[in-house]
Symmetry: D2
Amino acid sequence: MPAPAMNADAIAQLLRDEFPQFFHPGRGLTIERVDYGNIRVKRRFQEESIRPGGTISGPTMMELADFAMYVAVFSVAGPIPMAVTTNLNINFLRKPGRGDLIADAKLLKVGKRLVVGEVAIYSHGEGDPIAHVTTTYSIP
Amino acid sequence: MPAPAMNADAIAQLLRDEFPQFFHPGRGLTIERVDYGNIRVKRRFQEESIRPGGTISGPTMMELADFAMYVAVFSVAGPIPMAVTTNLNINFLRKPGRGDLIADAKLLKVGKRLVVGEVAIYSHGEGDPIAHVTTTYSIP
Amino acid sequence: MPAPAMNADAIAQLLRDEFPQFFHPGRGLTIERVDYGNIRVKRRFQEESIRPGGTISGPTMMELADFAMYVAVFSVAGPIPMAVTTNLNINFLRKPGRGDLIADAKLLKVGKRLVVGEVAIYSHGEGDPIAHVTTTYSIP
Amino acid sequence: MPAPAMNADAIAQLLRDEFPQFFHPGRGLTIERVDYGNIRVKRRFQEESIRPGGTISGPTMMELADFAMYVAVFSVAGPIPMAVTTNLNINFLRKPGRGDLIADAKLLKVGKRLVVGEVAIYSHGEGDPIAHVTTTYSIP
């Protein structure tokens, strides 16, 4: 496995600069690990993403998957002009608990025009994924 | 086509009661039309859902599709205990402009256990969809 | 709506020339209607695609959706070098009967690099779709 | 990991009995390994599934993924009445070579009503997947 094109700190700095509305401390998003095409991010538990029944909302998980894939794309392509999501497919598997969310993203294909990856989302401390995502990005 | 099981006002009231965090005036979501299994909702343009480049974020569109499908499910099933999204597949088709979003949801199947529908999302005033969603709900 | 780039006869001739293993009379595939980005194809009922329980197999429907999309791509792009399917998402909605299958394909986006479309598959003579497909092609 | 509910021989026998049109020696399908919810199947290379350009057709890969998931479902649920595919999402990643296909299926969720799994398809002897599938089955 090659070294990642950017490490976690460099990706976090890039996101703070380019997406200040999205990636700021109040969001509770952190980059936990960056290998080449294989990364882990975390989302701190926040009361306001809870739906009736105590469930974290679907869009919250889709947003986390999107974030994880951006980090994975940076890990192989470096600070390229922003990739555009073209397709995202999510299966919701289990009801998440009231805890932090972990997302592991792995790239399945890194082409010149398209990057395809999968993301498994976990409730912190639990073994089985709560959601599984496959998604495609178009490289401008 | 049968009459809808609930009209737009009744669905809006139910959502305000059950999802006050999600469906409140600040969210800018309105129910525009409710027929049986075929509905339209709107999301007022909001500066904070804009990404660099002037684009409305993907998760914003996924959230709107989710909302549209809830309304469509209520239109055929009435005030049932909450359905759970099991799968959502979204294709992002065009870059949306800085305007309101319209989402048209149509149910493709209303089974005893699963409801499947599609949602087309438009930028207000434009003819071609900016995103297309198919999604499945499990009825408890 | 512009005129289609190729009509049904020209597309059938192209497919016979380029895909003789796939598009030959024994396959039972016909092109019923070709408008610009909006076409209908048919698959004659064949005993051998039946599964136990009298159902037409899933892969048979996926193959028909793939065929319908090729025809739709030709209707807008003409006899281009072969597009490549990059993503296909299918929802199986109802058990098909023992009859011909009809597939209606409609393009949602015709970009320079990606073409996205949806296909609804019907059992001949029935009103509700038995399967719904969205699919993306990459233009070489 | 619990022991599988059926081993490879028992699943092959069941498929020969129940799906003789689909699972017969001429098809070239074999079950290579069966663990609990985690299995491998193989499809022998066959000249007739080749498309112009030397590529194995998309529907051939979708059929193999479907087969892999049936085997995975049997490995956890035993000889249950036939599950029904409700959703299948496939990303085509690379052009396959002219060789055998390997499919590794892993179940992501085994619920009372829905089973969700993913399948990675490889060209024999190559390291990177040529296609990736997620799919959902409904248990009758």
